[in-house]
């Protein structure tokens, strides 16, 4: 089947009334949590996973994906109007976006953020559609050794792209992998670290970990911070872009889209990092870098296009290799497994309706989001007035009930409480939770493939280096590690994160 036949198949799936409705729900929820600070897509997708048990898997994924890319749209609204990142990936949007708003150009900033995101979203989705079949064809021949090496590469990629110390990011991955060992060992049937607790014998559900270290920890960190929200203006003003705006923003949108689409493909990449990189590049390339930080439209257009392009293209490794690029796609992968769909290269051939339906729904969702975020901006501005002190009790209710409903057990709520405390402790020490969650989710797969590869090779660990594909992947991983310790690269990496 060629691309157009595939897209036609996807269109048939995506435009059923039910799927359109859930796509809209996902887009609305995504915008909502994007706008509200203190609630991110990881915690929201985790909270809603139990709700999707009853849905058709395609419908469930369409909605959950909508939350992820919808959050990229909503986050920019808060960044521009309140100078707070509604979403981590809109931190840099606030720099110039808020200045534009103070100059009475909030409407233009919002318009370029939404239109840039729309363009980037469509390009990112089409890239996904074009790349996925090829990549899946390559991956279908992978054995245990190749999968192990691929996951090592993925986990190391997460380290390179984490913002803090490399040592700490590696430590978090190891910690996550160790937590993933809890439960029954699939090879021997031995119980590991369960202490006889029945609820632990199947391992800890990743939703519990995600809600703890992302949802609850975030509440613990924010609840005592006095809140200052300076809504720059209740009136957004005209949304129309002038000829000069378009001229300045178009190249930034194109560059941001390209950069974001590429970075989203990398493991550990995704929306957050690509927006930082796009801002740095726009500033470097500009003839007037002094305008940045004072309301330059390129400073909004570049990062906003980049984060949305990356949000779309980060679905590529998850859908084609079965390896999540970041915490949110890891949760979406979990959603597939709940519905007994093993993520990996075979998804495209065994569930073409799910795969292509999801892709077409992303195109539709992006158009819905522009409509939701531009003409209806007034509704969302009102939501910005909800203070955090009213928001967090509501989040708490969703977290506890969500965790309970996984196994209908209050034990999981207590376990989540433990992970919330662990997450807070880790944040005190400047450890990031994202590599931990990624390690935790990949842990059982890493171990399974490692042990299977070793069993097949009768204990000969050189199998990882003698099989050409596996060796190449490990070579890339070693290269990544080497690059990390080079002082020059370290410096630019630190610079990029500081800006």
């Amino acid at each position: 089947m060629n691309l157009f036949e595939n897209l036609a198949l996807g269109l048939g799936v995506a435009v059923t009334p039910e799927n359109l409705l859930y796509c809209l729900i996902g887009a609305v929820l995504g915008t909502l949590i994007g706008i509200l600070p203190g609630l991110g897509p990881v915690a929201t997708v985790a909270m809603l996973l139990p709700v999707t048990y009853a849905l058709d898997p395609t419908t469930a994924l369409i909605m959950l994906a909508g939350i992820y890319y919808g959050a990229q749209y909503g986050g920019s609204t808060t960044a521009i109007l309140v100078n707070l990142p509604g979403e981590a990936s809109s931190v840099v949007t606030a720099i110039d976006g808020y200045q534009m708003a103070r100059q009475g150009r909030a409407g233009q900033a919002l318009a370029i953020a939404a239109l840039g995101s729309l363009f980037a979203g469509i390009v990112g989705t089409l890239l996904l559609a074009a790349l996925a079949p090829t990549l899946a064809n390559v991956a279908i021949g992978f054995g245990a050794a190749e999968y192990f090496s691929l996951m090592v590469l993925g986990l190391l990629g997460a380290v390179v792209l984490a913002s803090g110390s490399v040592l700490k990011a590696v430590a978090m991955i190891l910690f996550g992998l160790l937590l993933g060992c809890i439960g029954t060992d699939i090879n021997s049937g031995a119980e590991r670290y369960t202490f006889g607790v029945i609820e632990l014998s199947d391992g800890i559900d990743f939703v519990v970990v995600a809600m703890g270290v992302f949802g609850l920890t975030e509440i613990l960190r924010n609840v005592i911070r006095p809140e200052t929200r300076d809504l720059v203006t209740a009136k957004v003003g005209g949304l129309f872009l002038s000829h000069d705006d378009v001229k300045a923003a178009t190249p930034a949108v194109l560059r941001g889209t390209g950069l974001g689409a590429l970075m989203g493909l990398l493991p550990g990449g995704g929306a957050l990092l690509s927006s930082f990189a796009a801002y740095t590049i726009e500033k470097r390339l500009s003839h007037h870098p002094e305008r940045f930080g004072k309301g330059a439209i390129e400073g909004v257009a570049g990062p906003e296009s980049a984060n949305n392009a990356a949000a779309q293209s980060s679905f590529v490794p998850m859908l084609t290799l079965g390896i999540p690029a970041n915490a949110t796609t890891a949760l979406l992968m979990g959603a597939m497994m709940i519905h007994n769909i093993q993520p990996g290269p075979q998804v495209m051939s065994s569930h073409p309706d799910l795969f292509w339906g999801l892709i077409v729904s992303m195109l539709i969702g992006n158009v819905m989001l522009v409509i939701l975020n531009l003409p209806m901006i007034g509704v969302w501005v009102k939501l910005l007035k909800i203070p955090y002190r009213l928001l967090y009790p509501a989040i708490l209710v969703f977290i506890t009930v969500g965790v309970f409903s996984i196994q209908n057990s209050t034990f999981l709520i207590l376990l989540m409480l433990g992970f919330g405390l662990l997450g807070y402790l880790l944040s005190l020490f400047d450890f990031e939770p994202a590599p931990l969650l990624l390690g935790f989710i990949l842990g059982p797969m890493v171990e399974d493939n490692f042990r299977r590869a070793m069993l097949i090779s009768a204990g000969d660990w050189t199998t990882f280096f003698t099989r050409p594909v596996s060796a190449t992947l490990l070579g890339l991983a070693a290269l990544l590690l080497l690059v990390l310790v080079l002082p020059q690269v370290r410096q630019t990496r630190e610079e990029a994160f500081r800006e």
Binding site: L167, K168, L178, V223, R225, L428, F429
Partner: protein, 154 residues
């Protein structure tokens, strides 16, 4: 500042203690050999690596000059954490005797007290509205198996 309260020194110690826990609790798991790995092979190897990383982190912090190593603990944070924990515990303990509506309302009221900007009237209204709305959504619509009302009333 005391060398031992530096951020990375404590971070390293924390990693070593965690690794120690996994080693100690996993000492009964068979390690096995390369061609026949036991259930302990992977966790023990990982824990040893974590132990080494924690050691490197701690030694590095103790040897460094200690700039940027202060742990940022905002005043009142322990009280806030304790209050949030109490709120969730109250929900867990009350759920079966008192039912969803009562236990969620209690959780919201207690949790609301954690904020430095709390206003009692607001919290009470939020508790009333949220417990009602979420009861309909979660229990009536989504069918989460929780008792709605106190056991004595049923």
């Amino acid at each position: 500042m005391n060398r031992f309260v530096r951020k990375d020194a404590l971070a390293g110690l924390f990693l070593m203690l965690s690794a120690g826990f996994f080693l100690l609790a996993g000492r009964g798991l068979a390690f096995g050999t390369f061609d026949m790995m036991g259930p302990g092979f992977v966790p023990v190897t990982l824990a040893l690596a974590l132990l080494a990383l924690g050691f490197v982190l701690m030694v590095g912090a103790l040897a460094g000059d200690g700039t940027g190593q202060r742990i940022d603990l905002p005043p009142g944070v322990f009280r806030a954490i304790a209050v949030i924990f109490a709120a969730i515990l109250a929900f867990v303990l009350l759920l079966h005797p008192a039912g969803y509506v009562v236990s969620v309302a209690v959780m919201i009221i207690v949790a609301g007290l954690a904020s430095t900007e709390r206003r009692l009237g607001e919290i009470l209204i939020a508790a009333l509205l949220l417990s009602g709305i979420t009861a309909v959504v979660f229990i009536e619509l989504l069918g989460v198996p929780m008792p709605l009302w106190p056991a004595v009333l049923q």
